[in-house]
């Protein structure tokens, strides 16, 4: 045993700060992660070089391989009030529970007469049901009504939020409702065009076509 002890360098580092940071980041990502609810339709969108990011406030029409249309609005409040308006139009009563469930759902692709049952299914049942798509014929243009009411309700919500912000003396950043079309690359262009015609008839001309970012640079 030597008389002078050398200060022993500990081989184990103090990992506390690193662990703190790691957990902070884990917590952050867990809280910001949105729960991905399963969509009733698989859409394989085509790729492009565009790198613009989809805005948050959107009304999205998905079109699958066979040209079936699905409707979705990102804002849950607008979804619910749109459902109320659609219920009035098609004489279907939705109770509060159904409205709440509808607000948390993703795209819907069922006609109005089947919507009530569809809302009341639980998730596993809903996945088994094949959605027939929202009717888009000129005689029974339910998609047109969804678009119409969705647009009105979104504008109403924006107005009420603006009033609220102004009365509280805060700045209000208006984010207009955008119209996104997410079509399958293998869908016939005519099917997509028919949906776009429904929009242009309602004087909506600007769209966001959803694409995947092309991976390899040519």
């Amino acid at each position: 045993m030597p008389k002078i002890k050398m200060p022993k360098a500990s081989p184990s580092l103090d990992m506390t700060p690193m662990v703190d940071l790691a957990f902070l980041l884990v917590t952050f990502f867990m809280l910001t992660a949105t729960v991905r609810v399963s969509e009733p339709v698989v859409v394989d969108s085509p790729s492009s070089t565009s790198d613009k990011i989809l805005p948050d406030n959107v009304m999205m029409i998905s079109i699958d391989k066979f040209g079936k249309a699905f409707f979705n609005i990102s804002n849950p409040q607008v979804r619910i009030s749109t459902l109320e308006r659609m219920g009035e139009q098609y004489k279907i009563q939705f109770n509060d529970d159904e409205k709440k469930r509808f607000g948390a759902m993703t795209s819907i692709g069922v006609p109005m007469d089947k919507l009530k049952d569809y809302i009341n299914f639980d998730d596993s049942q809903r996945q088994k049901v094949k959605s027939p798509g929202i009717p888009v014929d000129s005689t029974n243009n339910q998609l047109g009504d969804w678009i119409q009411f969705g647009r009105i309700e979104a504008a109403k919500l924006a107005k009420s939020e603006k009033d609220k912000a102004e009365s509280a003396g805060r700045d209000f950043k208006y984010e207009p409702l955008r119209f996104a079309i997410k079509a399958d690359g293998a869908a016939s262009y005519i099917a997509v065009q028919d949906i776009i015609k429904i929009f242009t008839k309602k004087d909506i001309y600007r769209f966001n076509l959803i694409t995947n970012l092309e991976q390899e640079a040519e």
Binding site: M15, K52, Y189, K201, T211
Partner: protein
Amino acid sequence: MAEVNTGDGGGHGKHDKKRAKKLSTRIDMTPMVDLAFLLLTFFVMTSTFNKAKTMEINFPAEPKSDDQRQKVNNALTFIMSKDNSIYYYYGEFYPAGNDKGNPATTLEKTNFSKDGLRKLLLDKNRSTVEEVNKLTEQLKSREIADSTYKRLVVNAKGSKGALTVLIKADDKALYRNVIDLIDELNICQVGKYAVVDMMPAEFELVTAAGAK
């Protein structure tokens, strides 16, 4: 110093024997850190791929009647058809036996390859491409500001000499073809393009060309 430490894991040196075992206050945090980083990696990976990318496009309003069809100079018309084929013609459309005495429009065929569509577009749109490249050079050498650059690029793309592209698709064309074409137009600095309906005469030509 004379002692040789054999370094076997089980035994301690003879001097340690009488000492009470010291309990370390530190806990081995390695497994916890491993787990934390695993989760961190997972969340980072899943969250970045979530946001969808989008392409903004304006569609033209329905024309009130056929007479209002606008005359466009320097127009290239693409017609998409089955099996990813693209046909195009340049200038105005003249049906066979028209009263102005112009030769009837014939369709050329091209494809999505580098020597096909890309070459054609760059060739037809050369003035704009050169203009935009010049502006990009100027931006890189800090001669013009970012906002000026954007404005000038929009101007160049919308100038009178710039190429106008009309996109038409028949019932057998896929949505993917149309998106690919629009993407190609963006790459080739074509600012003026529109997706429009096909005329019956054009449809006949495409059907005839496809049957060949």
